[in-house]
């Protein structure tokens, strides 16, 4: 028989295992985002798809990084509202009339029946082509989701427009606003220019997995656009929807699901909303149509600690989006 000391030691180890596990999870999350820096300069790479020219800009935004996962909601919150044009199906409020076409197992996604109603009209599917081998011939294609953030500003994930494994920049992009299967309610749009972070183009740093796309026409005038927000405090517990074009459903159909933000990191927001390939670039937005993040990543659950996640709209990204938004307003209004 074991001595009482041995029993106590054993209990101590088991308890440390039980309580140590969540602590390790937290430390793991923190280690991804820890930094001593108090501010940073964004280096933004912009490609003009009309002239083919590339330019690099330094954006000297003041930005205080958090040094760990946030839990307190206290802090500054800045938002710009969504804009939904008046139409028959829209009274400038969020449409609740979603029809449920199918639910598979625990899959909580539901199909959006009326993609022209708000806020769904602001979301669209993206079709892009790539020249993986650099031989001047398009040899790969991909689809993603994007959403309007101004008259001509469409926001999406960086890996949907630039991928080292796919030969760098996309060679072409077409945005289909509010696509609904074989129905295209609005005229499609092409690109004028795309801006991404050099952190993404050089290192594919997931913290900078975003892209700001200037379209070649005033799509937002027809579809409206979503609002955007950033907060210095935690967004944990915020109820969000993620709406996009999953590749496992009928081609070109829009699906949405709800959930909440489960973890707030400096550059990332983890969430528990069901998603699938094809939904990268989908907005993570609240009932008021305020986007807090850009969905980018799913993760195979290992020890049940990893969640789906997206790029967080922080102050820097918010400011860049606001600049492009104002450029569009000036251009078209």
């Amino acid at each position: 028989m074991l001595s009482s000391l041995a029993k106590k030691m054993y209990c101590l180890f088991v308890l440390s295992l039980i309580f140590g596990y969540p602590m390790l999870s937290t430390i793991s999350a923190q280690s991804l985002d820890s930094s001593d820096s108090e501010s940073e300069t964004y280096t933004v790479l912009t490609k003009n798809f009309v002239t083919g020219e590339e330019s690099i800009e330094e954006h000297g935004y003041e930005y205080t990084r958090q040094t760990s996962e946030q839990t307190s909601r206290e802090g500054e919150v800045i938002t710009t509202p969504a804009y939904f044009p008046e139409d028959e199906a829209n009274d400038n409020s969020i449409d609740e009339g979603i029809s449920i076409d199918s639910i598979i197992g625990t899959d909580e996604r539901t199909q959006v029946a009326t993609t022209t109603s708000s806020p769904y009209s602001t979301i669209g599917q993206i079709y892009a082509t790539w020249d993986q081998n650099g031989d001047g011939v398009n040899d790969a294609s991909s689809t993603c989701t994007g959403f309007m953030e101004g008259p001509d500003l469409m926001v999406k994930a960086g890996h949907c427009v630039f991928g080292i494994s796919l030969g760098g920049w996309i060679t072409s992009l077409t945005y289909y606003p509010a696509r609904n299967g074989t129905t295209y309610p609005y005229t499609s749009a092409g690109i004028l220019e795309i801006s991404i972070s050099s952190e993404w183009s050089q290192y594919e740093n997931e913290n900078y997995d975003w892209a700001l796309v200037v379209l070649d026409r005033n799509v937002g005038g027809d579809t409206g656009w979503l609002g955007k927000g950033w907060s210095t405090g935690s967004l944990n517990g915020y109820e969000i929807s993620v709406t996009g074009y999953p590749g496992d459903k009928t081609e070109g159909t829009m699906w949405t699901a709800e959930g909440e933000i489960t973890s707030t990191l400096t550059y990332r927001l983890k969430h528990d909303v069901d998603t699938y390939s094809g939904q990268s670039g989908a907005p993570m937005y609240s009932d008021e149509g305020i986007v807090w993040g850009i969905h980018t990543k799913g993760t195979i659950p290992i020890l049940l600690i990893f969640k789906n996640s997206g790029t967080r709209i922080n102050e820097s990204l918010y400011n860049m989006m606001q600049e492009k938004y104002l450029d569009g307003i000036e251009k078209y209004y």
Partner: protein, 112 residues
């Protein structure tokens, strides 16, 4: 006898802790697919009957990716035959474009 039991009872939680910690800090997932195209920086594969959903995936190859042939010999990405079946060991992270992108690929092993 007491000592042996003590070692076992203490050893099991320690080993379990190490395993859990390693899974948290260095997560591993594997999938098997057929190679459709190859470049220096990526492989496009078709996945069927694997841990992840069926379909095409882009596997990102970087300087840390180890590529082994069927005899466990190191090879370059350009030596991966199109049509071969490969096992991909990665972090479990998938960028959800369509096709999806498998990131942080640790190892590619040609199995057929």
């Amino acid at each position: 006898m007491k000592k042996k039991a003590l070692y076992i009872l203490i050893g099991i939680p320690i080993v379990a802790s190490v395993i859990i910690a390693s899974l948290i800090f260095w997560p591993r997932a594997t999938t098997i697919g057929t190679v459709l195209s190859v470049s220096d920086v990526g492989v496009i594969i078709e996945v069927t009957d694997s841990q992840i959903a069926d379909g095409q995936y882009v596997v990102t190859i970087d300087q840390n990716t180890v590529i082994l042939d069927s005899r466990s010999k190191h090879i370059e990405s350009s030596q991966i035959p199109i049509g071969s079946k490969i096992k991909v060991v990665y972090s479990g992270q998938i960028l959800e474009s369509n096709p999806a992108i498998i990131r942080t690929c640790y190892k590619i092993i040609i199995i057929e």
